[in-house]
Amino acid sequence: MAISEINRAGSSSEPEKSPWNSNEMMTIAAARTLRDGMICFVGIGIPSTAAILAKATHAPNLFLIYESGTVNTNPQKLPLSIGDGELANHALSVVGMPEIFNYWLQPGRIDMGFLGAAQIDRFANINTTFIGESYESPKVRLPGAGGATEIAGACKDVIIIIKQTTRTFVPKIDFITSLGFGDGPGSREKNNLIGNGPKYVITDLGILEPDVSSKELVLTSLHPGVSVEQVLANTGWDLKVAKDLKESAAPTPAELERVRALVATSSRKKS
């Protein structure tokens, strides 16, 4: 605990200027976790960028499903909304949401699901519902669960993508929208969840993975130019660090070029 206090006293300054920004690094790190042929349940933003990047590089047969009903879609531009025409127009088929949630997600057919969050705790439980003291009188009301609760429950594996700060990495989240590992081993089983839970938490600073036995998140990889101290200073609990801590490979020029080209297709940018 003393150590964590010291750590937390460390500076939270930005990593020194690198030729990529933190969104790009997160996107590329997420893309690299995807293997060809996987069935991925994808959301808007970095998950879409990562999935499309992976499909354009090492995983051309990635099978992308969006909760809006697009099955095996192959968007050429970055979709701006979860029900973007781009997703429907490039899909093998478009089906109703009952089929997506009941036939695809619920039975554990999805290899990898993507989630974002406003808060995360050491067991990778996440909050996208509200910040504050009580559900009835929130300080900040967030959008809520959407597909997240069942994505967290039923996908074989889950990737959480989130910027790492002491506001997001907190000792206790204000509301569990989606269960990671609950309060440790056995929680998922007790809660009737069939998926394995979060496999990677990918942040702007590094990659965290659950410890095999304790299920607590451990820092396993630092992005280039980031120090352990920085990570610890941006984590609201005494984060464990892997003995064999790795450094994430820097984005390759090819990866960066692809990501930037993709992001440039987003008409959102024009505003």
């Binding site: 009301r141 809520g144 669960a145 069942e150 929208t177």
Partner: protein, 278 residues
């Protein structure tokens, strides 16, 4: 047997104060014009159901039409918060609203149960989430065949479901194509169904990835070109992302919102705005 009426008539004939209404359409085909007409007709005390209460319900809530919101994801997609929803929920302006919050899987299955004439549907959902303790109309039940715990969601049967679609044919059947979300189930679950359409055609050219709503399920149809704007209608127009962004500024303050309401809704007639059916 004319089901084709003006938007004004479609709403006044089917939406009553105190009704449970579902305006469905997932990103695509959101019945925005119908929502505006509900505001214009100053309907009150609605229980408003919708997976994604984006702009359309922010507007209804801000205009004071809604007493309860049943939803599963409330935000301005890709932009941020729903300011009018937050102001109503947190500050009671223009009136206090209550919420009943689900997951997409859960609310979709509430429609499925309603469509099926069942008291409930079953899923493996909500488990592990604090929603379990905060949401009405869900319950845990035991499987009669094994040891599994299963989640049941109560059926929802809106008094009226309103959707927007691309086409109605001469007989009043409706075809929607592209992303249709949970619209089919919301229609089957409803006591009354209103459809606004882009176009009234003699007969359909069948489309891939389409759903057909037979006229037997539909109460009234209004022809409302661009009735989904600023969402989109595949084959007709694209999503107006700028309008979603612009909404953030309009909705942020009560004053700017009230001004929008006055100028864009109350000052305009539904017919002048969206054209009428015939």
């Amino acid at each position: 047997m004319s089901k084709f009426v003006s938007l004004h008539e479609a709403i006044s004939a089917n939406v009553n104060d105190g009704d449970t209404v579902a305006l469905e359409g997932f990103t695509h085909l959101i019945p925005m014009a119908a929502g505006h007409e509900i505001i214009r007709q100053r309907k009150r005390d609605l229980t408003a159901v919708r997976l994604t209460p984006d702009l359309i319900y922010d507007q209804l809530i801000g205009a004071g039409c809604v007493k309860k919101l049943i939803f599963s994801w409330g935000g301005n997609p890709g932009v941020g918060s729903l300011h009018r929803f937050r102001d109503a929920y947190q500050n009671g302006w223009p009136r206090k609203i209550s919420i009943e919050e689900h997951t997409h899987a859960g609310l979709t299955n509430r429609y499925v149960a309603g469509a099926s004439g069942m008291p409930f549907a079953v899923l493996r959902g909500y488990f592990g989430s604090d929603l379990m303790e905060n949401t009405e109309n869900i319950a845990t039940i035991d499987s009669p065949f094994d040891e599994q715990k299963i989640l049941a969601v109560a059926a929802i049967n809106p008094d009226v479901t309103i959707i927007h679609a691309q086409q109605a044919d001469r007989k009043g059947n409706v075809m929607a194509w592209g992303i249709t979300g949970s619209s089919k189930e919301a229609v089957f679950a409803a006591k009354r169904v209103v459809v606004t359409v882009e176009e009234h055609v003699e007969s359909f050219t069948p489309k891939f990835n389409s759903i057909i709503i037979p006229e037997a399920l539909i109460s009234h149809i209004a022809v409302v070109p661009r009735g989904a704007w600023p969402s989109y209608a595949s084959g007709y127009y694209e999503r107006d992302n700028d309008a979603y962004i612009a909404w953030d500024d309009i909705a942020k303050e009560r004053e700017s919102f009230s001004q929008w309401l006055e100028q864009e809704i109350y000052a305009k007639s539904s017919d002048a705005l969206q054209g009428s059916g015939a």
